[in-house]
Symmetry: C2
Subunit: 232 residues, 2 copies
DNA sequence: ACAAAAGTGTTTAGATTACACCCATGA
DNA sequence: TCATGGGTGTAATCTAAACACTTTTGT
């Protein structure tokens, strides 16, 4: 302990890049910061790491507070530790990224926090280095989408292959050939065709699918854009 | 500031997974911890983040101290923040991983720190969660090797294709077909054949290669093991 | 000349891509 | 019946992988 005492201690915060999917767009949960510095400017949802919790736990806590959801996908992005990143005091921040199903989240919670879902195509300026946190999180999402179908985290229980494709097009900001995409995805054998159709988009209607219950999801989608492999 | 003051502050450390390549093996720089707790047990090289430095700077500082090298490849791995990971006091640790050319490092420095290069195949037990840090760093190395030839970081200026293959075999712990590996690597067009041969391994001798000077190295090597693509 | 490692070529199987075409349905 | 998106089939192209073969050189 003696040896440790000569070293400084720092505030440690977590900031969450909370991403969801709605109306064919990836959206980010932001709120106008409620205190100085930079009061009123857009900020990620964050908070300080307390004595008896890990950073992961702190991030979960914040997620619960702001969306009402538990047990959702959460992953470290990076640490941000420039001495002056927060002009008020030295705060070392650990960025997290979360994927949530907007259809499940608690709108009450979100409204209470004054938070909004903002489409990532029209992102406003964010405080501090939050823009960079977002960029890194988006890159992580693209990576993740590259080796696992992230429909489970972002789409409703039932969805059409077309909806899944639109999700992937939103994530990668490019188009995929409808026929090839469908074949590729179905070749993994992780989706189950239902007998129900979504008739809102066309006369013919598109069949709904859902993830098979027992699948330990391990899928590889290559980097070049979209080349996929089933791993286990 | 008022708002921040109600929150606790924590010691923040960096721990470096310093990897090198020698004698056809990936090696990790470790030292027997010189103070309690766990005095004498194997530990990564680390230190505390000071007032006026970022964590990246702290990691660079530690690297300089222990290997004598500057400007070397260094990347964040993850944060470790379990409240009791260090039994002595709460320390939040940011793990880094570094790749260094063992042929360049300062042996004096290493010896002064009582550090040793340990082949990763025969790793001893490490203190705290250092084993986990190492595992994550190794995974990162494999990822990195998957999209960029990391010969620059780990091999001497000049090397043979066979040496590069051995490096990849050490990183991925599997063998690659010599012919296919050579063709793949050379197809990137980032290596320059020299007129000198390494005659130590065979009568015929293998030509040395070096990285072309002007290359902004962007290579993709797929995940399935070894499928590669030139990106730009 | 021959052994042994360096380096080249060839063949096959599988994946990716582009795109033509058929299908089901409500208006 | 026809327009529209949903869904299937196929041929051309590219890539990975296995492995046979040729080259170079010291002894």
């Amino acid at each position: 302990m003696e040896l440790y005492k000569i070293h400084p201690r720092h505030y440690v915060a977590v900031d969450c890049v909370i991403l969801g999917y709605q109306d064919d767009e990836i959206k980010l949960l932001l709120y106008p910061r409620s205190f100085e510095p930079h009061k009123g400017e857009w900020s990620l949802l964050g908070g300080f790491v307390q004595e008896n919790e890990s950073a992961d736990e702190a991030a979960s806590r914040i997620l619960k507070q702001t969306t009402g959801l538990e047990q959702i996908f959460l992953e470290q992005v990076a640490s941000f530790s420039e001495p002056n990143r927060d002009p008020e005091a030295r705060v070392i921040s650990l960025a997290y990224f979360a994927l949530i199903r907007i259809d499940l989240h608690d709108e009450e919670c979100v409204r209470e926090n004054g938070a909004y879902w903002i489409p990532i195509r029209k992102l406003p300026n964010l405080i501090f280095d939050h823009q960079e946190m977002f960029k890194k999180a988006l890159k992580k999402l693209q990576q993740k989408a590259g080796y696992s179908l992230c429909g489970r985290e972002l789409l409703p229980e039932m969805f059409t292959i077309i909806q899944l494709r639109k999700l992937y097009e939103a994530i990668f900001q490019r188009e995929f050939d409808p026929g090839n995409f469908r074949k590729k995805i179905l070749s993994f054998g992780v989706l189950e065709k239902l007998s129900v159709k979504d008739a809102t988009e066309s006369r013919k209607g598109a069949f709904y699918y859902q993830f098979k219950k027992d699948i330990t999801e391990k899928i590889l989608i290559g980097s070049s854009g979209f080349s996929v492999k089933l791993n286990v």
